[in-house]
Chain length 273, copies 2
């Protein structure tokens, strides 16, 4: 467990530089010597999967994860089926890009019934396991902050994610720890230890006060109140030593030059992560 | 456990009609035949404690709770002491107003250290117990939504509130269940059952999508996604049959005529609570 994490683990989650397309993000990572990138699916469309893969490989970048699969709950069985089909395409894309992690944002309830939605999430993940195995890609359940329970994810604690993973008993399923989503949780450190070597990803940003926006409200590491280093060390102690993604959804950061964002992100990574 | 709750349990939490002073709120409750009111401390200042009490008693209203005590964590011991002194004044005010519940919004960490802040909350509550007993007022720990962890309360789950109550082992301490704060919690129904007859208050509003504002974002019952009736029935099953406060912090609702808010709130109470 190191005081400062190696820069060799730093990954740009592409949403942090939302105004850059994939080509610009790849070039930006090269200039800033950021060795990893996490790719968003909607960013693949501009160049297509083959060209995107080639750009990333030619640059010598490694892909830490693909964002995102999930969104399992839906009112009708046919719609839930089509969500699963979309997840299978996401697994194929992840494999093509050379990453072994598909991040799951599990989805919200189509109505007021949280219990059913949570059941559909678990069933959905279970049904994906065989194809995930075939693709050589793991399914990373990312609990989201409870303030997104109504519109993004009914999985809102690491405890829930761990419980699903344990029930499914598949090495193909793990969890993703994002400090922005879990920092408030009184059970956080227990649940990180419980996740053990099933942690598939670690995402950093910060919780700034006041939060400027419910969705685009994340801050740069060091600008908020999260004990990021403590959480990173706990995740390492549990067994995770993979890439660390900087994932910041914030309009003001999007509006600044991408190169500036990458430089700040590197400095803050060394200081606060 | 009734399908529809008695209108005799309905309480106007004064923040729902933020533009009314206490006199206007009392008159509004009389016109709408709302039998209970929950008073905010800052609303007492205009008329003073004695006159406020007289207005409420003359109107035949009952006070369901006083909002609010708490705010225990602070960087220095002297500041924490002065917070306790303020809580003692709040206990006196609650007793004067004839309510036996002081709602605690526990406060946030003065820095990044959640553990210390949580310890100070528990110590603060413990130190208030003797005086609360003397005043005949109970301390209601209200867990707030995790999105307020950085600026309002480090107590963010009913599980935490229950654990504090159990450790302190005093009948002077209980919990307050507000649907807006706890609806997302996968452990909600277990924790309501665990709280048992230590539930001191039940607050309703709704979670609307999208949330218009992090603070002033609560909706009228029925306009959002919370299973309010299910939670109300669970709280009753646990043993709570006291007043049900409508507590809505929402600019659009504040801006409409108070009488309209009270009428809608009554209708929605019968339909959705």
């Amino acid at each position: 467990m190191k005081e400062v994490p190696s820069i060799q683990r730093l990954s740009l989650n592409q949403i942090t530089t939302e105004n850059w397309n994939l080509s610009e993000a790849v070039e930006g990572c090269l200039r800033a010597e950021v060795p990893w990138i996490s790719v968003w699916r909607h960013k693949l469309q501009e160049f297509g999967l083959n060209k995107s893969r080639k750009m990333i490989r030619d640059a010598g970048l490694r892909v830490s994860s693909l964002c995102r699969g999930g969104m399992f709950p839906a009112a009708s069985k046919s719609e839930r089926q089509s969500r699963l089909d979309d997840n299978r395409r996401a697994l194929e894309e992840a494999a093509e890009l050379g990453t072994d992690v598909l991040v799951l944002v599990c989805g919200s309830a189509p109505d007021r019934d949280l219990d059913s939605a949570r059941k559909w999430v678990e069933e959905g993940i279970e049904q994906l396991i065989p194809y995930a195995k075939e693709c050589g890609v793991k399914l990373g359940i990312e609990p989201l902050h409870p303030m997104y329970a109504a519109d993004r994810s009914v999985i809102v604690t690491l405890g829930q994610a761990n419980a699903i993973r344990e029930r499914l008993q598949s090495t193909q399923v793990g969890v993703v720890v994002d400090v922005f989503h879990v920092w408030w949780d009184p059970d956080l450190y227990q649940q990180i230890a419980r996740a053990g070597d099933h942690i598939l990803g670690f995402h950093v940003s910060d919780w700034i006060v006041p939060v400027p926006d419910l969705f685009k409200g994340r801050g740069m590491m060091g600008d908020g109140v999260i004990e990021i280093r403590r959480i990173r060390q706990a995740v390492e102690e549990a067994g995770y030593n993979g890439p660390i993604e900087v994932e910041i959804i914030n309009q003001a950061i999007w509006d600044q030059p991408g190169d500036q964002t990458l430089q700040t992100m590197k400095d803050r990574y060394l200081e606060h992560v």
